[in-house]
Symmetry: C2
Subunit: 521 residues, 2 copies
């Protein structure tokens, strides 16, 4: 038993005792105490004088306005078409998981996980990525093979540079192939997919770096890195795309206690880049060939490049020994796509250097990344049955911000609706007729708008078309109603034609003009 004080200045000094005392004390009611303290806080807050209400979104989050949504939709459509072309299904998982599902999966980044308040019942956390929920889904449903994509928001309590397109709530866009297959075929398809998507999104020149965890580990072994330092040295190597070799070496030697000789050895290897030829050469390398692991990785790298040749993507793929990637769960091939064209590459983001393990924060200009993770699903299976997986995550937030910049720079206006025709009138008292024509158009499947005013001005109706990019206006007037026609005006050219055939009463549009509307857009 113990006591502690809640008032300022006297707090916190006895927590060590608390823990020890509580451990030997059955029937602890910490939950109750927490609830009471929080209630207390709420009460105190409520008495805090007149509270100023702040009109904002939560820190690190943003609304998407219609223009941003239009760009987002276009990007999604391109990416989803590619996933579908490769025969992928899609799944969805809840935005929160049991807290313990996420525990032990993200190393020290676990501190960035959003927890839900304990309101009684299960302890929950917001998903941190889509890979762990995917692995949980496979294990839970005993699925041993699937090719799926999943596009959804994930949550990280980071301090992101939002001006550069990084947020606490952001999209991930994952494609994964799970199943026991012959080596490197699904791995090569993932790279083919990255190649297709980046080409189609038209983001400029890009390069896809590939490496293999087994090659890295073999390299570390033959360079004399102690086995227990593989992961930490690996995460230092991962910084090579944002730090000079000198700084990386310095970190290895002075911070992580590696011998200078070992660091220099590593330095020689990580400067190597090539293709299948490099893999062949390294298989002959006196030192590296002593590592069975490295040899397995290098043989698979050769096989991978043979498939990449068939897939016609070797123009962009580079075997790069400096590619490490932060996440612990990779077991084989790893890859990362970077934009290489100056101008479209977002500026370096300071928080990234501190957070190398986060999936989408791997490097400056990185727009996709992934690799093979054969052990993750087994972590969820009660019998540790493994389901080999390989996958890729498209850095879609970075793609959004590049596309937004491009749209901003372009003269062409981003349309936020798909309206094909505006039903307008030049004269008063034609609301009913406008609504009737609009109904006809809707019923014929045509995207049509009408102003919600009894007597809108023609100018404001035309202005609305200009503003929102509606290509056609159907203009009603007394004379047109008498003649059974409608005046169709092309907004861009101001050309006008009269389209027949109308019935006088009720006004109804013949299919003819409906087709005109359709064929324009």
């Amino acid at each position: 038993m113990f006591s502690f004080r809640v008032c300022a200045g006297l707090v916190g000094c006895r927590i060590g005792i608390c823990v020890r005392s509580l451990r030997s004390c059955p029937g602890i009611t910490i939950d109750e105490e927490v609830a009471k303290l929080l209630e207390l806080k709420a009460q105190l807050g409520g008495d805090d004088g007149k509270h100023q209400f702040v009109l904002k979104t939560a820190k690190g989050t943003r609304d998407y306005n219609p223009k941003q949504m239009a760009i987002r939709e276009k990007v999604f459509n391109t990416i989803i078409s590619c996933f579908k072309r490769h025969g992928a299904e899609t799944i969805d998982t809840p935005v929160f998981e049991l807290k313990e599902t996420l525990t032990g999966k993200y190393g020290e980044d676990s501190k960035l996980i959003y927890d839900l308040k304990d309101q009684g019942g299960e302890l929950l956390s917001l998903r941190y990525d889509l890979t762990v929920p995917f692995a949980r889904y496979l294990a839970m449903n005993k699925i041993t093979n699937i090719k799926r994509y999943h596009i959804a928001k994930v949550y990280r309590r980071d301090n992101p540079a939002m001006t550069r397109g990084r947020y606490r709530e952001f999209y991930q866009c994952d494609f994964d192939i799970a199943g026991q297959y012959d080596p490197m075929i699904p791995d090569a398809e993932c790279l083919k997919i990255v190649h297709e998507i980046l080409s189609e999104l038209d983001l400029g020149e890009f390069r896809i770096k590939v490496n293999d965890r087994r090659i890295l580990d073999g390299m570390f072994a033959v360079c004399g890195v102690p086995a227990d330092k593989f992961r930490t040295i690996c995460s230092t190597v991962d910084k090579l795309d944002k730090m000079s070799w000198e700084d990386v070496k310095n970190e290895m030697v002075n911070e992580k206690g590696l011998s200078e000789e070992a660091a220099d050895h590593i330095g020689e290897y990580v400067s190597l880049q090539g293709g299948m030829d490099l893999a062949e050469r390294l298989l002959q390398d006196q030192k590296l060939s002593q590592s069975k692991e490295a040899c397995a990785g290098l043989s698979d790298m050769k096989l991978l490049f043979s498939y990449l040749q068939i897939f016609q993507v070797t123009d962009k793929v580079v075997f790069d020994l400096s590619l490490a990637r932060g996440l612990d769960y990779y077991t084989g091939i790893i890859y990362e796509a970077v934009l290489t064209q100056v101008g479209v590459v977002p500026a370096p983001v300071s928080t990234e250097a501190q957070n190398g393990a986060a999936e989408e924060t791997v490097s400056v200009g990185s727009v996709a990344g992934g690799g093979r993770y054969d052990g993750l699903v087994g972590m969820f299976d009660p019998k540790s049955r493994k389901v080999p997986c390989v996958g890729v995550s498209i850095g879609i937030e970075r793609v959004f911000s590049i596309m937004e910049q491009k749209a901003e720079a372009s003269a062409e206006k981003v349309r936020t609706t798909e309206v094909q025709v505006m039903v307008a009138s030049a004269q008063k008292n034609l609301l009913e007729e406008r609504l009737k024509l609009t109904t006809e158009l809707w019923n014929a499947g045509i995207k049509a708008e009408v102003m919600y005013k009894k007597n809108p001005k023609l100018l404001s109706q035309l202005q609305h078309c200009e503003d929102s990019g509606i290509p056609l206006v159907a203009i009603l007037g007394e004379q047109e109603l008498k003649d059974g026609v409608v005046k169709l005006r092309t907004v861009a050219t101001r050309e006008e034609v009269w389209q027949g055939c109308w019935q006088l009463t009720p006004v109804s549009l013949c299919l003819n003009s409906a087709q005109v509307c359709c064929s324009v857009t």
Copy 2:
């Protein structure tokens, strides 16, 4: 200053003193104490012996498997097409809001809001619906008119009957028109949209009930309900679709203290149903016509029906005085669509009766609902500037579960991929040739799959086509390669044709057969 004990049996007795002491104590560090206690709890939990890991999703949530996703996509496409046909833009908001943004918007349902843990920084809650974030968005961006849809998940700590398609995480699908317009035009368009969507989804017969808050309030006034009881009597009236009039009357009289006479008066009105004629008749009603509010509502109801006639939707719309709807923020017209065909209507859900105010839980068989809320945006505006709004929410989770039931009952298989052709081989050692042909198909934009095996059995390749509904198989063999053709097999009929023209080395498909693949699906 004070102290309290954390061990069992001695806890909680001094909290009253705490609150008083703390209020007069500056620099309180309750947050720190809470954090420490929770940390303590985590530590204790960790030492709790071997913990049994539970492989499940959080209570009240579910994964969507590929089949459910295929159905979901189809439903979304139908609904989004309709919204776009009516010229709507779309927006998105974060999944969590500042807690205070949600405070005071949901009455006693606020207890169902998910809060995030206080991990330092802002206090956050998961969104409870899409309407409050929409109003926050309008006020924050000073938008005075917009027509937008928003489809996203919302969160309620309810105890839902999940077997009946109700969850703690579920989709809402909202369409709203904000802006100062001439009366009843946007309101009528919302009903037109409900009519279009329910017709296109082909869910069976439906009816759209409409009423007006002003008519209800006027009716309560002339029936002698005290003004401070309008809302509570209104929520009792709202139960008429799941309770008999006797039970409703009983609740009014015995629970809510209404006079029996007033209740009987209400009973007469709420049994009325009709169309424009009923609105006209009630405008002549001796009692009701004494209420200015009721008259305003009834005149607008007449106007609404005149627009509904133009929109050609009066076949499904009923002016029903028993429709009340739970949410407090409605100020004018309200409506609700119900399925009337026996068989597809989900069974009554017990929790609904307790939770009449929840948007999507309004009634058995309810698949859409909404109304006019002219005051909500003003609640967020520092100067209380009003932005009139009218909107509708499609009960999309109910639609999903009906569609899933229909798919289950149907003989037709739900496809989860869109693959058009499987590239197979009957003989060994043709992996490269299969991959080459697949590459050609992908590059031509055709959805194609290939097995990730060096030497798959023809039978297992054909079986995969049967299982996933792939209509065509392109079969490669030595002879075909020599002849420069590919055998195209239609899976359903087992018909086979040889398609030219191939080059011998490298194998490449001529556009001809690519077109065949395309034209089949």
